[in-house]
């Protein structure tokens, strides 16, 4: 089972990892795993488990281009992020790092702390009381990057960019 971590709208990358906690500022960059939502939601990093799901309001990840924001989420094993709208740079960064992002508004269907099962292949969430929520399928060029595990393995495997005719 995965735990749902619920966030509001317009979560910016300074809230995910403040610039003061960037790898640039750290002696040991692996410390980054301690910092997702360090100030915005200090209970997140100590309690998040691999596979847990972030469910957020619109414009998730707005603000700076810092890839260490989604990288910190990957380091703690976030299994998917679901929001009605993602900020553009964050979405690319998450895609590049292989973190599945689904565009859907589940903020009123799921509550913080809910235990659910996420089937990435089928794009389906099953709640502990048996409700089934279908996630909209992402376009092919996004699915093929996830399938490869991110943009670097994708590029190394295919020698081309997503969406480009092979």
């Amino acid at each position: 089972m995965a735990r749902v971590w619920l966030f509001g709208p317009d979560i910016n990358t300074d809230q995910i990892v403040p610039g003061r906690y960037a790898p640039y500022m750290l002696k040991d960059e692996s410390e980054l795993r301690r910092y997702p939502f360090i100030e915005h939601r200090p209970d997140f990093a100590p309690n998040v488990r691999p596979g847990d799901i972030i469910v957020a309001g619109k414009n998730f990840g707005c603000g700076s281009s810092r890839e260490y924001a989604p990288l910190a989420l990957r380091m703690v094993g976030v299994g998917a992020i679901i929001a009605p709208l993602f900020a553009r740079i964050f979405f690319r960064n998450a895609l590049n790092l292989g973190i599945p992002c689904f565009t859907a508004d589940l903020t009123s269907e799921l509550a913080d702390g809910d235990e659910v099962e996420l089937d990435l292949e089928q794009g389906r969430i099953t709640t502990s009381d048996g409700r089934v929520i279908h996630l909209p399928p992402p376009p092919l060029f996004l699915r093929e990057v996830w399938a490869a595990g991110g943009i670097v393995p994708f590029y190394r495997q295919y020698g081309r960019f997503p969406g480009e005719v092979a």
Binding site: D10, R20, Y24, N59, R66, R88, P162
Partner: protein, 416 residues
């Protein structure tokens, strides 16, 4: 006829493209800054297995985010970046004190009309001030561009912000940009490009105020046509009467009041007159949005012959060495210093909350920058208000949020 984004992206894709197309494009210039360079270098060599950047002439490296270094760690990482630049034979390194990447690449003539420019900084939409398609990307995308000279993107739809008339007394480009953010909101231009129309009267750096704030509405690029400016480049994008736009937002400059973005979201914008009495501890003038020569000149005009209010600190961090030199040579700098302001090394300053004036809990800062997110400039318990350089200077004189029109002597405040 196409939008300016379609004109530029058709050029770099090598075929006519339209909004919605997913294209692979040749990149004209890649900017990398100190904050993310070590990670980008690691991805380039270790993950992508590339030994060299695709074209050292088309790479610019700028040390601006923590400049000068604030700790042994940042000093060591800058040392590593300088070594890498030498090893790669990259001619364009702009080191500590040269300024913020965005104005520097414009001043150096590296950012040109019609180019596709990628930067490791989200405010790389800045290059729209010369009619380039500038866009910020994360470290992996930047490393891929360094390795291949290419990127992929979806050609954006275009939202037009159309300014009409001329700025009134005490009102300028920052007020226009904040007004646009108030109308479009923080996600209103997500996945789209913004074209700013009706701003031909603005200087290149005043245009950068509009271009940098475009990302705060979610935009992929924020472009102003350079037609009429003395700039050359691979293509001069022009506004086409028949281009297809997603939305057109009209703003009457003559009716525009000084705008202020209140904590903790950039689109939390109100007329200054509606905010009541807000006491301020620090006035911070700087950044790629409003640390330009024009911005220091506006502030100096208001502060000339006067002193900061007791208990107020005013920190000025010029956006570039050129801006600082110009301010030093014409008396602008002397005016600011005489009023009681102090000057920092040209660069990003405290915009990312790392050095050069970070805020303590409970402090209130009037900032000419582009983000007022909680914790952005230091303590998450500090409050950041975003406004124009004119509002900043007027506020420094009184110690509370002040309409510049109440402290000015009748001279137009916007430089032309």
């Amino acid at each position: 006829m196409p939008t300016m984004s379609e004109q530029i992206l058709s050029r770099v894709a090598g075929r006519p493209v339209r909004a919605g197309d997913v294209v692979t494009a040749n990149v004209d210039l890649v900017m990398v800054h100190d904050s993310l360079a070590p990670g980008i270098i690691r991805i380039l060599h270790q993950e992508l297995g590339a030994e060299r950047v695709w074209d050292p002439q088309r790479v610019a490296v700028v040390i601006d985010h923590v400049a000068p270094a604030a700790s042994v760690q940042t000093a060591e990482k800058q040392q590593e970046v300088r070594r890498w630049v030498r090893t790669q034979g990259i001619p364009n390194l702009f080191d500590v004190g040269r300024g913020i990447s965005h104005p520097v690449l414009v001043e150096e003539g590296l950012a040109q009309p019609g180019m596709l420019i990628l930067g490791s900084d989200s405010h790389s939409t800045a290059y729209g001030c010369v009619g380039a398609f500038g866009s910020g990307m994360g470290s992996t995308d930047i490393a891929l561009a360094l390795a291949t000279g290419k990127t992929w993107l979806r050609v954006p739809e275009t939202i037009v912000v159309r300014a009409r008339g001329t700025f009134g007394f005490g009102v300028g480009p920052k007020d226009l940009a904040l007004r646009a953010a108030r109308l479009l909101r923080a996600d209103g231009a997500t996945y789209a490009a913004i074209e700013w129309h009706g701003v031909e009267q603005l200087s290149v750096m005043e245009r950068m105020t509009l271009a940098t704030l475009s990302i705060e509405m979610g935009a992929k690029a924020g472009i102003i046509s350079p037609a009429g400016l003395d700039l050359t480049g691979p293509l001069v994008p022009t506004v086409d009467a028949d281009a297809q736009y997603q939305t057109v937002v009209e703003i009457d400059l003559g009716q525009l009041e000084p705008q202020v973005s209140a904590p903790h979201y950039v689109d939390n914008v109100a007329d200054l007159s509606d905010l009541g009495r807000v006491a301020v501890d620090v006035v911070y003038l700087g950044t790629c949005t409003n640390g330009h020569y024009e911005d220091m000149a506006v502030a100096a005009q208001i502060l000339a012959g006067r002193r900061l209010a007791p208990g107020v600190r005013m920190i000025v961090v010029p956006a570039s060495a050129q801006a600082l030199q110009r301010a030093a040579s014409d008396g602008t700098l002397a005016t600011l210093l005489a009023a009681g302001a102090t000057i920092g090394t040209p660069g990003c300053g405290a915009c990312i909350g790392r050095h050069m004036g970070v805020l303590a809990p409970g402090e209130v800062c009037l900032f000419t920058g582009n983000r007022n997110f909680r914790g952005r400039m230091g303590s998450p318990e500090a409050q950041i208000y975003l406004a124009s350089p004119a509002v900043a200077a007027a506020t420094a004189l009184t110690g509370y949020l002040t309409d510049p029109r109440t402290v000015m002597d009748g001279q137009p405040v916007v430089s032309q």
